[in-house]
């Protein structure tokens, strides 16, 4: 069980690193997806560990996947809109909501 947790922890760390350092919006999105998957992994693992019959974990994983899909869809739509509007997908340069 700890193996699973270790893996999900590592993936989560990688995902965080990706989110924090990547300048390109699409890679940012990918990193977020990695985070989601790390979480799903935990869900499934714990579902397997406790009351396998209840499948709560797996339901959560499925919900997670669908939400990730939605998020990807809307995210990419946004990225396209931003690209069309500002001509760049570089997160570092999109700071028009600056204080």
């Amino acid at each position: 069980m700890t193996l699973v947790l270790v893996f999900s922890g590592l993936l989560f760390a990688i995902g965080t690193y990706g989110v924090l350092t990547r300048r390109n919006a699409i890679t940012l999105l990918i990193s977020v997806e990695i985070l989601m998957n790390a979480a799903n992994l935990n869900f499934v693992a714990f579902s397997r560990l406790w009351e396998p019959e209840l499948m709560t974990g797996q339901v959560f994983a499925l919900v997670g996947i669908s939400i990730a899909a939605c998020e990807a869809a809307v995210g990419l739509a946004l990225i396209l809109a931003i690209f069309r509007r500002f001509g760049t997908t570089d997160v570092g340069r999109i700071d028009f909501l600056r204080g």
Partner: protein, 166 residues
């Protein structure tokens, strides 16, 4: 749970692939490679799901994620013309990101070892049947919510991209 060595070995293999693929996806300077690596990562995760006795989820993962999201991302890549030719700019203050990532990773991994978890229970043969049953009585809300969210997302995506020309 991961009781038999084979399973552990297999799970570890898939885990390794997943980690490597994720690292590749995050670190590579070429966007296309990053997406391909991401695809590999997803399939590896699907494999792990399969080993954790969640075959339906694994297949759904492949069906939705690899078949859908990765294609979507590729579409976005092509439409945004950030081609594979010129490498991507890398954020300047990577140090901070790294530090935070290490902190998060370190803490999670440390937490992983601290637990004394009970033995895993027996897995029912027909996971799909149980899943179906779970979805329609105890987790009905989740089922409905997924529907609504998916609908909202589709509409949102359409509106954002096509805006006036709807």
């Amino acid at each position: 749970m991961l009781d038999s060595d084979v399973q552990i070995a297999l799970f570890a293999a898939f885990g390794g692939i997943a980690v490597i693929a994720a690292l590749a996806a995050v670190l590579t300077r070429y966007l296309l490679r990053s997406i391909v690596a991401f695809g590999a990562f997803l399939t590896a995760i699907a494999g792990q799901f399969y080993i954790l006795a969640a075959d339906f989820v694994a297949l759904i993962q492949i069906f939705v994620y690899v078949g859908g999201v990765v294609v979507l991302i590729l579409f976005a890549l092509m439409l945004s013309a950030v081609g594979q030719k010129h490498p991507l700019a890398v954020s300047e203050h990577r140090g901070l990101g790294a530090v935070v990532a290490y902190a998060v990773g370190g803490w999670l991994v440390w937490a992983a070892f601290g637990q004394d978890l009970p033995k895993a229970g027996q897995v029912p043969g027909e996971t799909v049947a149980f899943l179906g049953r779970a979805f329609l009585d105890q987790q009905l809300v989740a089922f409905e919510v997924i529907g609504i969210i998916l609908l909202a997302a589709v509409v949102a995506a359409l509106v954002i991209v096509r805006g006036e020309r709807l």
